[in-house]
């Protein structure tokens, strides 16, 4: 399946989930599919969308939190698997769009491509629920159960690399604007206070 197809299936089953997206392909495709403001789109800190999502999930246990990660980002911070497994947040689901390349910079191959089993690594770290899905139809069939199960869960979406650059544009909000849109969206939805009375 293509990355866009995989993301579109996820988006259809999203329900009330708040999403945190790794920078690049994952964030750009999620924005294209959802245009959602109750999603956080990383602009940097490659590898650490996972940690951001964990912090959000632990702090907002009433919200389902979906991490839309990518294989390049996962490999920048494999230790996140240990931390996620140890914290065992029931409201956190970790998806990895795995295409084996650094797509956003021209599809250069990733280290150890073709030999790494990320789901096995997650199981070894302590995830009770980890799997790899390779076909769009299979993803569509499994998503209702994945969306309904307790976290932490780890789902690798094996997708085809595109040829060359993937030119899906990034979301259009500047860094601070995205912070305020995301924070205000969570305040409205969950009745929490992210910003103080003076707006900071």
């Amino acid at each position: 399946m293509k990355a866009r197809e995989a993301i579109e299936v996820l988006a259809r089953h999203r329900g009330e989930a708040v999403a945190v997206c790794a920078l690049g392909m994952a964030a750009n495709e999620w924005w294209a599919a959802t245009k959602s403001e109750d999603s956080f789109y990383m602009h940097g800190a490659m590898g650490f969308a996972a940690s951001f999502a964990l912090g959000l999930a632990l702090s907002l246990p009433q919200a389902p939190v979906w991490l839309i990660n990518a294989d390049g980002s996962l490999c920048m911070n494999l230790g996140c698997l240990l931390t996620e497994a140890a914290q065992a947040a029931k409201n956190l689901k970790h998806f990895v769009v795995a295409n084996g390349v650094y797509q956003t910079v021209g599809a250069l191959p990733m280290v150890n491509e073709g030999r790494t089993d990320y789901a096995a690594m997650a199981r070894a770290a302590g995830f009770a629920r980890a799997r790899t899905i390779e076909a769009r139809e299979e993803l569509a069939r499994q998503m209702p159960a994945i969306a309904a199960e307790d976290g932490p869960s780890f789902t690798v979406l094996r997708v085809e690399p595109e040829s060359g650059f993937l030119r899906t544009p990034p979301m259009t909000y500047e860094g601070p604007e995205m912070k305020y849109r995301f924070g205000r969206a969570l305040e409205r939805r969950f009745g929490i206070q992210v910003f103080g009375p003076q707006g900071y």
């Binding site: 940097g44 940690s51 951001f52 964990l54 702090s59 931390t83 140890a86 305040e187 900071y200």
Partner: protein
Amino acid sequence: MDVTAQIHEQLTRCGIRLAASLPDDWVAPLITRIAADNQIRHVPVAREAEAIAICSGAFFGGVRSVALMGATGLLTCTGELATLNLRHQIPVFLIVSQRGSIDDHRIYQEVQGRRTLPLLQAYDFPYHVVDRPDEVSSIPDAFETCRLQKRPFVLFLTRRLVKGEGAT
């Protein structure tokens, strides 16, 4: 009350509900104490930048948090502090051991001692050094300044503070 208990008390006054940590031996007693507080979610991490991003995510959940680490760990986080916290103006409050000071005679800490503060100044990250027990009460003001300035804020703990006067 020992200084670790004093710092813990001030963090509670700040409303801290989550602490992400990777130990350095100077901050280890504080981490142990916070881990035993069931009012604070303790998140041990495998790399210090995880703590930065976890606290950043917690900010959007409306939870006040602190990242605890050593000076060497702080140096490993500079990319994430710049491209996540500066990029989006997300406050993150760090408590860090001020390694490499003139009374820290560990050769592997000397670069941290010489270059950490100039590095923070280059990034325009505010910081505050707590050197004596009677300065621990400044922590709530430091925490509020972090939120107000919307960026990383480093509260350094000195050797004299955490080890005591004349410690070897």
